[in-house]
């Protein structure tokens, strides 16, 4: 995303509405995924669990790839919007700096998260 686009987004009055909708939509996506994760974890841990067992379930699994991949995308969107609000309210960061920091945080979370998903899904 080029700097000009970031600046253009910064001055768009509808940005707040889009961020509001994106944060709620990402929360709605995360909620069932967290429940699936917790449910499977509680079920799987009954007889003890180790890394090999987890990898056996996730390696080559389209379901777990999509499940955790979607979760990582939702978390990245949700957390970077939340951080943006904190930066603005607590540290008075504004304008292009605010957008840049938020996008960098988003990109960092997304990269780290997708790498982790790839590591447990791709055989």
């Amino acid at each position: 995303m080029c700097v000009a686009t970031l600046i253009a987004m910064g001055v768009n009055a509808m940005l707040e509405v889009r961020l509001y909708l994106a944060q709620r939509a990402s929360a709605a996506i995360m909620a069932p995924l967290v429940l699936i994760h917790l449910g499977v974890m509680i079920y799987a841990i009954q007889g003890g669990i180790d890394a090999a067992e987890i990898l056996e379930r996730t390696r080559g699994s389209l379901f777990w790839g999509v499940n955790y991949g979607l979760f990582v995308v939702a978390v990245s969107v949700h957390a970077s919007i939340g951080l943006r609000n904190i930066l603005r309210e607590w540290l008075a960061v504004r304008g292009t700096s605010l957008s840049l920091i938020s996008w960098i945080f988003f990109a960092g979370l997304l990269t780290a998260g997708l790498r982790a998903v790839a590591a447990v899904v791709i055989a």
Partner: protein, 255 residues
């Protein structure tokens, strides 16, 4: 105000903030207790008997005009309707000018920004009919009218504005009173400025900044719920955005 001090009671130890925009400090006074005494009575007693230079603001003294709000023991209150015996702690009172507004002198605040934000969010009715058309008929029981009515009894006292942490963090935030007013007008079926107003309250100083902490609803002397009004605006703006019914050039306050 009763002028018959009760000599059997210990005087109230009152700390009053005195100063100007350049700075100030608390000044201590002793005020005799009286029956049915309000905080405004205390301030008035100080001005009449102890220090005539004390500045404060009031008008109606019966909770209608919204002029006399001050911080009392750290909480924003309408002082003419706040009884001393309900809020006094250990015989002490601390009275300060309203939070989140610039001070003019002592207990009198500059309300300009508070009212400017009402204008910025188009907090006034805009009709589309003329005197030649018949008067609108409104059912007081329609769901939309009930929602509008629930938000109309605001007396512009700025207590909600003083209690709002988002105003404290973001000086451009329109605040609970202006947004509550906008919500009331958005639900007035006679009003014709809905689309424009919606884009004004959707900007980066508008309704989406609210954290729903409910300080405004907690301290509103008329028991209004600006938080609920703002939540209504958020939903209304989101729906309008999805349907493309909102102007995308809403005013931006933050540089």
């Amino acid at each position: 105000m009763s002028d018959s001090p009760d000599s059997t009671k210990v005087p109230i130890a009152v700390r009053v903030w005195r100063g100007t925009p350049a700075g100030g400090a608390f000044e201590a006074f002793e005020v005799p207790q009286q029956s049915s005494q309000t905080i405004l009575d205390v301030v008035t007693w100080i001005q009449r008997h102890l220090d005539a230079s004390l500045s404060y603001r009031f008008a109606c003294r019966v909770g209608m005009c919204g002029s006399c709000a001050m911080m009392v023991n750290g909480i924003p209150r309408w002082t003419c309707r706040t009884h001393v015996n309900k809020v006094m702690r250990d015989n002490r009172l601390t009275i300060e000018p309203l939070r989140n507004l610039p001070v003019i002198k002592d207990l009198a605040c500059d309300m300009s920004e508070f009212f400017d934000k009402w204008k910025d969010s188009k907090g006034y009715f805009q009709g589309s009919t003329t005197r030649h058309e018949s008067v609108s008929t409104l059912s007081p029981n329609s769901p939309q009218r009930r929602v509008a009515d629930a938000a109309t009894e605001c007396i512009n006292c700025a207590i909600c504005y003083a209690s709002c942490d988002v105003v404290n963090w973001n000086r451009d935030y329109l605040g609970p009173a202006a947004l509550n007013r906008a919500w009331s007008l958005q639900n007035d079926e006679r009003d014709s400025a809905s689309r424009e107003r919606l884009s004004l309250v959707a900007g980066d100083a508008g309704c989406h900044q609210c954290h729903s902490q409910q300080g405004c609803a907690t301290y509103c002397p008329n028991e209004l719920n600006p938080t609920a009004s703002i939540a209504g605006l958020k939903r209304m703006v989101a729906r309008a955005y999805v349907r493309g019914n909102i102007d995308r050039d809403g005013r931006k306050r933050n540089a």
